[in-house]
Symmetry: C2
Subunit: 473 residues, 2 copies
C-alpha cells in the first residue's frame, strides 16, 4: 500500500507539508507566500467544519453578518492598544486605479474596528442587548515567520463572534457559553484541548483577558486553535457603544469575542492522519462511508445491486456515503479513499453475497470485520461512533501523557509537550523560564489551579497559580 | 398598515434605497462608500440564493475552490486586454506593516489572473479535462459612479465559474449548459430575463464573446445579473494552460466563465417587493411560512397547540416555517413579517379551532383563504407553488409589455423599457442610436434573430440582426 515519502513519526513537520498537498487539500504554488489555493477537497472539509460552527451559533442565538473587508485607517486607530498590537501586521491599500486614496485603508486582520462603529448605531437601549453576532470571513496578516498550510498563513479563513452586553457579569456569562461551545465543537472534531488564561503581556491587543484554546500536535508543539476574549468596556468607550438603561442613564456595553481559524483543519490533519493519508473524524468527513464493489472480472449484477441498496439505506439515515463504481481495480480505490481519510470502507464481493454479509474496514485502525447484511446500516452507524471515540481517545491519551505538572525547572527540562510549573505571577520569572526552557508561556489553567504548597522555581516566592510552557507553532 | 414613506410607483429608486434598509438587509452607514454591512436578514437571503447556485453547480459537476484574494501585478498584466479593461478599477496594496512591497498586489476584481497560472499546473493531459470549478467570493471594483445597495457596490459578493476544455466545440457545449443553469435558476427566483450577445466593444475584457443575463427593473432600466463568456484560447495562451492530446501533441485549452453577483438580490427586492416591504420567492425565503396565533386576551392552549402541530408537520415536509409566539399583538407580527417578505402567513384563532380550519394569507396578493385543518399541509405547499408562479407571471408580463421590436428610431423614442431595432452590425450606427435614445446597447438576441426584411434605421443598409437598447443600471 503506497505511503507518504516522509514518515509522520520521523519528521512530523515535513510529513505534514507533504500530506496537505498529497491529499489535495491545498496548492502551495500560488506566487504569494502564505496565500494558498484551497482545492475542492480541502475547501469541502473546511466547509464541514464551518457547518459545525454555524450549528453551534444557531443553537446559541448568534446572528451571522458580513462586514466589509476594508477598514479606514482612522477607524482602526481609535483603540490604542489594538493598533499597537496589529499595526505592523496589516496590509495597506493606498491606491484605487490611478488615484491615491485620501485616507489609507487596511485589510481586516480581525473586525473589531470595522464592526464597532456600526454597533454604536445599532445599540440604543437595553432592549437591543445582548447583541450576538458572528461572521466567517478571510482575514489578512503580514506573517514574517515561516508559513505553513492552515497553521501559519497570510490569508486566514476565520470565524469571529462579537457580542455586546449590559454589564461585565452578562459578558462573563457569554464566556461561559463560549467555553461550552468549544467543549461541544472540539469533541465532535475529536480534538482534546486545554483552556489557558493568557498572561497579561500576551493577551489580545485591547482585551481585558484572553482564554486560549490549544491542542498538542504530534511534534509536541502546541497549536492555538482559538481564543475567547473579555473586552470589558475597552472598545465600547473609544467606539461609543452605549445604551440607555431602564432608568434613563447612558452606559457603555461590555463586549466579548470568540475567534477560531483554519488552524482547526491543521489540527485535524496533524493529529489524526497517518502515512497512508488523512483520517477524518466522521462529523466532518465529506464522505463518511465509501462502498467498494470487489469485482475483478466483468460486472456482477448482484454485487452492484447490493452496493446500491446499502448506499440508499445509508443516505436515508443521513450518512454521507458514496458507492465507487469506477472502472479501476478495488486496490486503486482503497488507495484513493484512504488518502482522502474516509472513516469507514464497505467492501462487497461475490462471496459476501453468498454469505449474506458485507465487510467493514476502519480507516483509523485498518481492522476488518464481516457483518450480516441485515444489520449493516445499524452496525455502520455504530462503527462511525466507535471510530470517533477512538480518535478522541488516542488524541486524549497523547495529550495526557504529555502534560506534566512539575515543581522544578530541572524536572521541566526533561519533558516533551506541555509543562506546568508553580508561578509567582511575576512577568520576569515567567519570561526567564521561557528562555531557560526554550518554550513559550501558554497561560494559566482556568480550573484546578490550587498550588499554594509550592513556590516559584525561579524566585522562590509562594506560587499563586501554575504557568504552562510549551514549544508552540 | 404601515408602508414605506416613498412609494414604489412614484420614485422607484428612492423606494429601493428605503426598503433595503427598512427590511434590514444591509446598513449603508459604513464609512467607505459602496461597502455596506450585510445585516443578518440580508446575509441569510443571499445565502439562500448561493445555495441554489451551489445546487446547480453540484448537479453539473463543478467543484468549489477558493483562490487567494490578492494578485501580484505581474500576473495580472499577462493578458493585455484584461488589464486594459480592469486597470482603472482595481485597488492596490503597496505596503505590509511598515514595509513597502517589492511588487504591488491588487484585490481581485475577478479571478482569471489568480486562477490561470495554477490551472496551468493542474492540467497536463486530456484526462484532466474538462476542468470545471467555481467559487463564491467577494470581489472589489473601484466604482466611480453613484453606488446603490446590491446593484452598484465596491465590495461585490460574486459567483464565478471557470472551466477548461479540449477545444472550442467542447467549450461551446459548456455555454449551452450555462444557459440551462440560468433558465433553471432564475425560474426558481421568479426572475424572467433575456440573454443578449454583447457587441464586441462591450464584451468582457479578454473574451471572444460575452452573453449577458439582464432583467428589466420596475424603473424600466435593465439590470445585468450575470454573464457567460467564451474565452477561446485568449487566456490559455498567455497563462500557458496546455495539455497533451492522445496523440502526443501539446495544445492550448479553450475556456469559459460564468459570473453572477449580489445584483440577483437587488433584482429580487426591486422586482417583487411592494410598499409594505419585501416579497420573497418561496425558493429563497429564509422563512417560507409564518404561523401566527391570533389571541388577544391571555393564552389559549388549543390555539398554541394547533400552531405547534401545523409547524411540526410543515417542518417534516421541509418547509421553512416559524411559529411566532412573541408576546406582542398579532397586528405587530403581521407588520414585521410582511416587511420581511414571508410568502405565506397562517393565522390561527379560537374561531378557527371551532371551525376546524386555519386561515392562509398570501404576501403577494394579500388574499385570505380559510382551509380545513385536515388538508392544511397539502394546501400550504400548493399555495407556495402558486405564489411562485404568480410572481413569475407578473414579472414576465412586465418584461413582455416593455420589450418592443420596432423598425424606426421614431417608434423607439416613444417606448419605455427595451427596444430592438434592426442593425447593420456597424459600431458607429449602434453608438449613434445609443446617443439618440439616451440609452445603452444591451446586445443582440441569441435566438429569433431573423430580420433580413428590414434595414438599419440609421444608415439604411440591410439589417443583419437586431440590436437591443435600454437605459441600464
Amino acid at each position: 500500500m503506497p505511503e507518504t515519502k516522509i514518515k509522520k513519526n520521523e519528521d512530523f513537520n515535513e510529513w505534514y507539508n507533504e500530506i496537505v498537498e498529497l491529499a489535495e487539500l491545498c496548492d502551495k504554488r500560488y506566487p504569494i507566500k502564505g496565500m494558498n489555493v484551497w482545492r475542492p477537497y480541502g475547501w469541502k472539509l473546511m466547509n464541514h467544519v464551518d457547518r459545525l460552527i454555524r450549528d453551534e451559533m444557531e443553537k446559541t442565538s448568534h446572528h451571522e453578518v458580513y462586514f466589509p473587508l476594508l477598514i479606514p485607517e482612522s477607524l482602526f486607530k481609535k483603540e490604542e492598544e489594538h493598533i499597537e498590537g496589529f499595526g505592523s501586521e496589516v496590509y495597506w491599500i493606498t491606491h484605487a486605479g490611478e488615484n491615491e486614496l485620501e485616507e489609507r485603508w487596511l485589510l481586516r486582520p480581525t473586525s473589531e474596528t470595522a464592526m464597532y462603529p456600526v454597533f454604536s448605531l445599532w445599540i440604543r437601549s437595553h432592549a437591543d442587548l445582548p447583541l450576538k453576532t458572528f461572521q466567517i470571513v478571510n482575514t489578512f496578516r503580514y506573517e514574517t515567520k515561516q508559513t505553513r498550510a492552515f497553521i501559519r498563513v497570510r490569508e486566514i479563513h476565520f470565524f469571529e463572534a462579537h457580542t455586546c452586553h449590559e454589564d461585565f457579569k452578562d459578558a462573563e456569562k457569554q464566556i461561559e457559553e463560549d467555553k461550552a461551545i468549544a467543549n461541544r465543537l472540539f469533541k465532535r472534531l475529536c480534538l482534546p484541548f486545554i483552556f489557558s488564561k493568557r498572561p497579561d503581556w500576551d493577551k489580545f491587543a485591547g482585551a481585558f483577558y484572553t482564554i486560549s484554546i490549544d491542542v498538542l500536535m504530534p511534534s509536541w508543539r502546541t497549536l492555538q486553535l482559538g481564543s475567547i476574549h473579555q473586552y470589558r468596556d475597552n472598545f465600547s468607550k473609544p467606539y461609543g457603544i452605549s445604551y440607555e438603561t431602564e432608568d434613563g442613564k447612558h452606559t457603555y456595553v461590555h463586549q466579548t469575542t470568540y475567534g477560531m481559524s483554519e488552524r482547526i483543519l491543521g489540527a485535524l490533519v496533524g493529529i489524526h492522519s497517518d502515512n497512508k493519508g488523512l483520517v477524518i473524524p466522521p462529523a466532518v468527513a465529506p464522505t463518511q462511508v465509501i462502498i467498494i464493489p470487489v469485482i475483478f472480472k466483468g460486472k456482477e449484477e448482484k454485487v452492484l445491486e447490493l452496493c446500491d441498496m446499502i448506499c440508499k439505506k445509508l443516505m436515508d439515515e443521513d450518512v454521507r456515503v458514496v458507492a465507487d463504481k469506477r472502472d479501476i481495480t478495488p486496490g486503486s480505490k482503497y488507495y484513493d479513499w484512504e488518502l482522502k481519510g474516509v472513516p469507514l470502507r464497505v467492501e462487497i464481493g461475490p462471496k459476501d453475497i453468498e454469505k449474506k454479509q458485507i465487510v467493514l474496514v476502519r480507516r483509523d485502525t485498518g481492522k476488518k470485520k464481516a457483518v450480516s447484511q441485515e444489520s449493516a446500516v445499524k452496525t455502520i452507524k455504530e462503527e462511525l461512533v466507535t471510530i470517533s471515540k477512538n480518535l478522541c481517545d488516542n488524541a486524549k491519551k497523547f495529550l495526557d501523557e504529555n502534560m506534566h505538572r512539575v515543581h522544578s525547572i530541572e524536572e521541566a527540562k526533561d519533558k516533551k509537550g506541555i509543562v506546568e510549573l508553580p508561578w509567582c505571577k511575576s512577568e520576569d520569572c515567567a519570561l526567564e523560564i521561557e528562555n531557560i526552557l526554550d518554550g513559550n508561556t501558554i497561560g494559566e489553567p482556568i480550573e484546578d489551579v490550587e498550588c499554594k504548597d509550592y513556590s516559584c522555581p525561579l524566585c522562590g516566592k509562594t506560587a499563586e497559580t501554575w504557568m504552562r510552557y510549551a514549544k508552540t507553532y
